[in-house]
Amino acid sequence: MRRVVITGAGAINALGASAAATCEAMREGRCGIGPLDIRDVDRLMIRIGGQIRGYDETAHFSRSEIALFDPFTQYALLSSREALAQSGLEITEALSYRAGVIIGTSGGGLHTQDESYRLVYQEGKNRVHPFIVPRLMNNAAASQVSMAHGLKGPSYCVATACSSSNHAIGQAFQLIRSGATDVMLTGGTESMLVFGGIKAWEGLRVMSKDGCRPFCKTRNGMVQGEGAAIFVLEEYEAARARGAPILAEICGFAMTSDAADIVMPSQDGAARAIAGALADAGMAAEEVGYINAHGTGTTANDRTECAAVRQVFGDHADRLMISSTKSMHGHLIGGTGAVELLAVIMALRDGIVAPTVGYVEPDPECDLDVVPNVAREARIGAALSNAFAFGGLNAVLALRAI
């Protein structure tokens, strides 16, 4: 089977406006979560989030582009541009037919929906902008990225809530490994920090009013974030032949379904996905030095995730590190796994393990090395990235240093 490597990364989120800035913040254990600055915030009970600050869309896009680009598309386009630039890859005519885009997003153009519903329902307008549909559709980001870079192979979006990014990256990996394509741009994007998006989450009563503290005894829920991360995936031999910067190798991927509850996580479903990714990668459990956790900061997820890791790794669970960077950038829902993959790459490539910040008190139900508050230097040869979505859809990626 063909090998698949990551040759470029781009990102924008609460921690920074590039992959490098994001990794630097993770290394410093900086938290990007703060008071939300959105319309009608005074009518919300939840008023914090991992919001992108100081962003000016007109600095990056023309007026006619903005008419077609919801923020979730803008974030994907900026990240794609950065990732492709790093990879140094030139999309020739021949390559364009062997290259595609798979982008995870849960909500799609939620800013566009929120603003348009406000206009027609609240303000009584009988007319909306003509491009509302192409702006809000879930596949808008994938389509615009394919158009921006002339990628003419398979492109689509994946919407599996909090696992969208990992499902997208895993599918892109499989397409290249199987020989169906040679190059894929993949990752995830989300811009759910709008009044309606947060109001809906409030209803579930799983959001924290004061911060995201995964694995900590005092944790009291998740905090939403926004943004994107996009990666260039290439077939290994081709990437090596052209002297591309190789950031890491994706070696395995597994997906499972709990088939149980629409919101409660399942230890069995999570454990099967973790074990499946190891098996797909031909990776011994003892190889794994780091797991980027799903780690949402809810009582149920963190407890269940730790139990699943113990179930799969046995004694080795006490010798690996597991951290949740959601404590810093918040939960980007459909975009989260992509931003979190940056932490995996940093561990494999730079030997720096991102911390779980905001950690104040150990929880006996999460008794693993969660790298509290301060990043750690370590030689990591292999790592996993976990994603476990509402709806019981689990997706785990396995990567090695190269």
């Binding site: 209803g203 579930l204 009563r205 924290s208 829920g221 629409i262 409660m264 009582t299």
Partner: protein, 88 residues
């Protein structure tokens, strides 16, 4: 004789439990009634709507919330407190 607030809360909880209101007593716990976490969140919502109040309830740690859900009686007491707070 149950007052209106108690009656309404019992009605909401009974609906979630798919029971008749007379099968729900003040001493019933949510476990007794077979109400799971989603059912509880829905019941909290219905109570908020019925009395136009905001209930400080976090599903991450129902036992530790400011809103006591030990049994139907504790829920009724807490809701009455919130209604009084709103009126004052």
């Amino acid at each position: 004789m149950a007052d209106d607030v108690t009656r309404k809360i019992i009605e909401i909880i009974a609906e979630q439990a798919v029971l008749e209101p007379d099968q729900v007593s003040l001493d019933s716990t949510l476990d007794d009634l077979g109400i799971d976490s989603l059912g509880l969140v829905e019941a909290v919502f219905a109570i908020e709507e019925a009395f136009d109040i905001s209930i400080p309830f976090n599903a991450n740690d129902p036992g530790d919330s400011e809103f006591d859900i030990s049994n139907v009686r504790s829920i009724v007491e807490a809701v009455k407190g919130l209604i009084a707070e709103k009126q004052s």
